[in-house]
């Protein structure tokens, strides 16, 4: 901690971001994976978000929020570029995932973009409803609706218990 505070600004921000990555990188990667359904895309979005944050240095006040939003926005942009309105199911083989999680990612791909974003940000990333609303440009009430419908659809698709 002392080392971080006493270091020059650039070094300090670098170490702060590395600590942020060590603390949240896995959770962010999994959330983007759940949103996009593609591990390669998730890795690229997360790496690009952190690389952008490193370049911007102290211009970013809240690194955590900035990186989360940027990673999701990069992923959404990549999906758009692929002209894939709804991403495909998780691809086999390139990473290890338990079957229930793999089925979940495949089912998430069948939700609308806003439902998927709301479900992932709330349930996979752990954001409160109000923060999810800010992230996806909606209201907390609308996010509650997206969550309700998204979860209902997931249960239908997966045959899960209520």
């Amino acid at each position: 901690m002392e080392r971080v505070r006493d270091a020059p600004a650039g070094v300090r921000r670098h170490e702060e971001l590395e600590r942020l990555y060590r603390d949240q990188g896995s959770r962010l990667w999994r959330a983007v994976l759940a949103f996009a359904g593609d591990p390669e895309l998730a890795s690229d979005a997360v790496a690009e978000a952190f690389a952008q944050a490193l370049r911007r240095g102290d211009a970013i006040r809240d690194s955590e929020r900035w990186v989360w939003r940027t990673a999701f926005r990069i992923a959404a942009g990549a999906l758009k570029e692929r002209r894939r309105e709804v991403p495909g199911a998780a691809e086999e083989g390139s990473y290890e995932m338990e079957e229930p999680a793999r089925e979940l990612v495949a089912a998430l791909a069948k939700l609308s973009a806003k439902q998927r974003a709301a479900v992932v940000l709330h349930h996979a990333a752990g954001y409160p409803v109000n923060d999810v609303a800010h992230l996806i440009g909606s209201t907390s009430a609308a996010v509650r609706v997206h969550l309700m419908r998204g979860r209902r659809r997931l249960r239908e698709l997966l045959g899960d218990e209520p």
Partner: protein, 693 residues
């Protein structure tokens, strides 16, 4: 298994360690623009998400025998039947991408599901269903396999089998063929019924024909092509029946010297000019009147037969099944018979392919070329800016010959913009001072009644540091001046409505212990005084309606931060109490016209008696999307699906008769109905006019 278990499993997924690559990564030369401010970032993200799923188009669905059809759809998924044991095993409905990837099973075993047929909007499938020893009947399911609904009852000996379902081009009707028993009152026939109804409306009797199947509705809606054999023969021909007068015509008559089985399974080209069909194991093409019959494709002798051809929605390809000595697989060729390619290669049989139509994209404001009546074609105007900051528009309504939009600017407080519904011109900008309009869902915080415009909002509580109260603001439309500011107590306003019994507001109320619940407040418009308050148990709600003397407040339960089932709370104005609460069972978007309440629950639309809460009618349609408003010939809603689209449900036909795609860069959140136009409020701070004439 529970969803929470799956998220835990997801949480256990090991992620790659990217840090080393991050440190050495050169950020892209054109980094994403990050506008300043938290809200702007959110909007940018929202727009990216929205743009990934929003089309821009104008399209009216109309059934007319005089319609000149053109291809209006692109290619979606291919649905087909899959089975490991064609004779005795279950039949599954499966979908794949046009390149053969992405196999998804839609139906659950046991059961034999067959002959899938997509609805014109690609949202549902009609199919045949046989379970156990029951006779085959017709059912529908959603494109994801949910929402199975049986449409027909086929009981022997009167009915042997219901087969070959097909949708009308406007999606309002389904036709199918019935194989009748030996002593049936109605002989071999084609039945037609409204897609949301339970009793056939039309019966097209086909005297002298048997084994009717392969139904294909012409793109102009006037005729149904089918295959059948003359009684006493086993050789099939293609026929057409006029849907309006039942006249039957024969299109093919392959000589017995050339055909042993004959002609089967016609499929109309999307432009209606040609028909592809199977003749004795090869694929043939002919003009729609039966002329110019020519062979299109043959896979023999390497196969036993090519069968069940279906045209792709974009008219460029034809999918079909190929029987070999081993099994049946799906293939696709160009519509000129070239470039045959295999789609499936599973060990069992795959057959009965049907291509999902996806509506085409055009430019905003464009009029569809295929419209038979230009005066009935909606047009979309360029969005009118109301606020420069996204998320700052809250509600809109029509009244006193104007469209009114509630919004706020952080530096200037609340305000209402008055628009000319014809020109879209801004007539007035009215400040509501420190009362900010509050928006939940549906934009119901603004209403016209008793000679005034009323706004539900919130403002800092007088004399309470940090407190917030719900307020009503009253505006005189003659002077555009605020005439009253009515304090409704702690909380914030959600919706307001006016009828002869007074002004009724629905608000979020905060009690002394900090808990919240919905509150109905009655205001006397002659004195602007609160005359009654009716607390509701629910903590969440967003609409209140006045219909034929009944006041109905819509609420929802909230479980685990999620909105749950909708409840209609009917107020007794005589006693200022809740007369009855009617749960609808699931979350539904409410609306009201002059006589009925409406609730839109995903794939279901119901009408409700506002006095009793009794369900009057129910229709099953495609996904209805978000928010609703009634008037101008039906019930309007944002959707279907998650596209930026506004659609009209016509209760007379039970189908969607108008569907208008909005601007790609808009995120619609609420709407209002005005004479001859629909007005859509967009999250970006704009309002869009959809002219109906």
């Amino acid at each position: 298994m529970k969803l929470s278990d799956r998220f835990e499993a997801l949480d256990a997924t090991r992620s790659p360690d990217l840090w080393q690559s991050i440190e050495h990564r050169e950020p892209r030369p054109s980094p994403p623009t990050m506008p300043g401010g938290r809200r702007a970032i959110a909007v940018a993200f929202a727009l990216v998400i929205a743009a990934s799923g929003i089309a821009v188009a104008v399209r009216a669905f109309q059934r007319s025998a005089t319609q000149t059809p053109v291809s209006t759809s692109s290619n979606g998924l291919i649905a087909y039947v899959e089975t490991d044991d064609p004779g005795n095993g279950p039949w599954r409905i499966v979908t794949i991408e046009p390149d053969g990837s992405g196999r998804q099973v839609l139906t659950a075993e046991p059961g034999r599901y067959g002959e899938p047929a997509w609805s014109p909007d690609g949202s549902r499938l009609a199919l045949t269903l046989t379970v156990g020893t029951e006779t085959r009947r017709i059912a529908t399911i959603s494109s994801d396999g949910s929402g199975l609904k049986e449409l027909t009852h086929c009981d022997s000996p009167e009915c042997l089998s219901d087969t070959s379902p097909v949708w009308s081009p406007d999606g309002s009707e389904i036709a199918w063929a019935r194989m009748s028993g030996a002593h049936a009152v109605i002989p071999e026939s084609i039945f037609v019924l409204g897609a949301a109804r339970s009793a056939p409306e039309t019966t097209l009797v086909l005297p002298g024909l048997s084994f009717v199947g392969g139904l294909a509705w012409s793109p102009d809606g006037a005729r149904i092509a089918f295959d059948a054999s003359e009684e006493g023969t086993k050789r099939f021909s293609i026929y057409v029946v006029d849907v309006n007068d039942g006249t039957v015509g024969r299109l093919t008559n392959c000589p017995i010297s050339e055909c042993s089985i004959g002609d089967l399974h016609p499929s109309w080209a999307p432009d209606g000019s040609r028909i592809v069909f199977a003749r004795d194991g090869d694929l043939y093409l002919m003009n729609a009147n039966g002329s110019d019959v020519r062979r299109l494709y043959s896979c023999r002798p390497s196969c036993t037969a090519a069968m069940e051809p279906v045209w792709s929605p974009d008219e460029r390809k034809i999918a079909f099944a190929v029987q070999t000595a081993k099994d049946r697989d799906l293939y696709v060729i160009g519509s000129d018979g070239s470039d045959a390619g295999r789609l499936t290669d599973a060990p069992g049989d795959e057959f009965s392919p049907m291509w999902q139509p996806i509506p085409v994209e055009t430019t905003p404001g464009a009029t569809p070329d295929q419209s038979p009546d230009p005066t009935a074609s909606p047009s979309v105007a360029v969005p009118i800016p109301i606020e420069s900051s996204p998320g700052h528009v809250s509600a809109l309504t029509y009244g006193f010959g104007s469209v009114w939009v509630a919004s706020y600017a952080e530096s200037q407080g609340g305000r209402i913009t008055r628009l000319d519904p014809t020109s879209g011109e801004k007539i007035a900008r009215i400040s509501t001072g420190d009362v900010f309009p509050t928006w939940e869902i549906g934009g119901g915080g603004l209403t016209a009644g008793d000679g005034s415009l009323w706004l539900a909002g919130a403002a800092a509580a007088p004399g309470e540091a940090g407190g917030v109260h719900a307020f009503l603001v009253r505006i005189d439309p003659d002077t555009n001046a605020v005439t009253a500011r009515i304090d409704l107590g702690t909380g914030s306003g959600a919706s307001v409505v006016v009828d002869d019994s007074g002004v009724w507001a629905l608000s979020f109320s905060v009690t002394d212990d900090g808990s919240t619940h919905m509150l109905v407040t009655r205001v006397d418009p002659s004195s602007n005084a609160v005359v009654a308050t009716i607390p509701l148990e629910a903590a969440y709600g967003h609409h209140i309606f006045a219909v034929q003397g009944s006041i109905v407040a819509q609420t929802n339960a909230v479980h685990d931060e999620t909105v749950a089932g909708t409840v209609m709370n009917i107020v007794d104005p005589a006693t200022n109490t809740i007369e009855r609460s009617v749960p609808l069972g699931s979350y539904a978007w409410p609306a009201a016209d002059e006589t009925r309440l409406w609730a839109l629950d995903g794939g279901t639309i119901i009408s409700i008696d506002p006095a009793t809460g009794k369900v009057l009618d129910t229709w099953e349609i495609s996904n209805t999307g978000d928010a609703a408003a009634a008037g101008e010939g039906g019930v309007w809603f944002l959707g279907p699906s998650h596209r930026a689209r506004v659609s009209r449900f016509d209760p007379d036909t039970g189908g969607i008769d108008v569907s208008v795609n909005l601007d790609r860069d808009s995120t619609p959140i609420a709407m209002a109905v005005a004479p001859g136009s629909i007005w859509v409020l967009n999250y970006e701070g704009t309002v869009t006019r959809v002219s109906l004439s």
